[in-house]
Symmetry: none
Subunit: 225 residues, 2 copies
């Protein structure tokens, strides 16, 4: 189920949004101030964020900027009472994807949200194939020539991160952030250790890696073919 995070300080509005999104079949997280909202965003990695601009503590623009700074790319729809053109453009330039002015139609908001999530679903495949492997993310299954290869939860998340970013250079920090979580205390060498075990399970010759390549001083890079 897709998760929507709603960050809004007006409790009446928040309740209304929450009920509507829940009724539409989403898993809903809510936050009443910027601090909490930002933490939820970084921690739970929702699929979509509804973000009010006028918030206590940190304002919506700042939250948007910080989320993008962390390289999180879920769609963000901003809400505001102001209808100023300059505000809208500022929001969009900071990395928001859409902008609605209060009062707005809740149905339209739901439709826009659905449009973003539909697009997102298109992009994310759930099975990847490389060499004679089939990696089914939805079913949490890795097979090689029909034979299943068992992976521990962390190995699974690591491989998932690798295949989703195949061909890209990944730093240990990026890996730690995505696979271990931004608030984990794990050290850099833990990445190496899990790469070793992953290699031992999928590489024909772990000493001459075919898929997971080491990038000295940087991290790793996954390449199929």
């Amino acid at each position: 189920m897709e998760t929507v995070l709603i960050i809004e300080d007006d409790s009446t509005m928040l309740r209304g949004l929450k009920d509507n999104f829940a009724y539409a079949g989403y898993n809903v997280l809510t936050a009443a101030d910027g601090e909490a909202g930002l933490n939820y965003a970084l921690d739970a990695k929702p699929d979509l964020i509804i973000l009010d601009i006028m918030l206590p503590e940190i304002n919506g623009y700042e939250i948007c900027r910080l989320i993008r700074k962390e390289k999180l790319d879920m769609p963000i729809i901003m809400l505001t009472a102001k209808g100023e053109e300059s505000d809208i453009i500022l929001g969009l330039n900071l990395g928001a994807d859409d902008y609605m002015t209060k009062p707005f139609s809740i149905k339209e908001l739901l439709a826009r949200a659905a449009a973003f999530l539909r697009r997102r679903r298109q992009d994310q495949q759930d099975t990847y194939e490389f060499a004679d492997f089939v990696f089914d993310i939805g079913a949490r299954r890795l097979t090689r020539k029909k034979r299943e290869i068992k992976l521990s939860p962390k190995e699974y998340k690591l491989l998932e991160f690798f295949v989703k970013r195949q061909g890209k250079a990944l730093t240990r920090d990026e890996i730690l952030n995505d696979v271990w979580g931004y608030n984990s205390f794990a050290g850099h060498r833990s990445v190496d250790r899990f790469v070793t075990t992953l290699r031992s399970k999928i590489e024909p010759d772990p000493h001459n890696p075919t898929f997971i390549h080491t990038l000295r001083e940087i991290g790793y890079k996954f390449e199929p073919l």
Copy 2:
């Protein structure tokens, strides 16, 4: 350059949109009716489509539906004179990504368009090409005629610095600052040594450098071509 297709039958409006998008640096295609618009969309595969709803022949909803039916997934922003909630929702459900009601701010439209294209651009990494080399920063890879050339971390950073400042005279101090870091203790001659090894890897004839030129008493200069 990114291509935008504008489908709009009102010639004044079309002209205005075309000029603004062209001025913003896009390659612009225009169509005055649905038939032509659909053909352009299927043929030229633009990166973004601005689509008016009220069109002769085929209306905008139909075009949107047909485009999605062909599995083309570029973002579509719909324009309409009607502000009916039900129209907006219909449009979004048919596969449009955004919807603006006339009269709208052209600046806001540009900002929304930019937001969609920015998302798309995130995925494609920056690469530099010179002679028969391809230097892919995202994948951290240098290739010459499809064959990979291995670079040590420092060689990589040095080449990255050169490529990003191509055509500019670079002093050893600038190079040391950027590649080694401001708090490094490395001496000036270290730069020379790494230039030598870089040359040995990328210059056809290291004694007569094509790319990395020595500037006596100054430093070096990288020039492609």
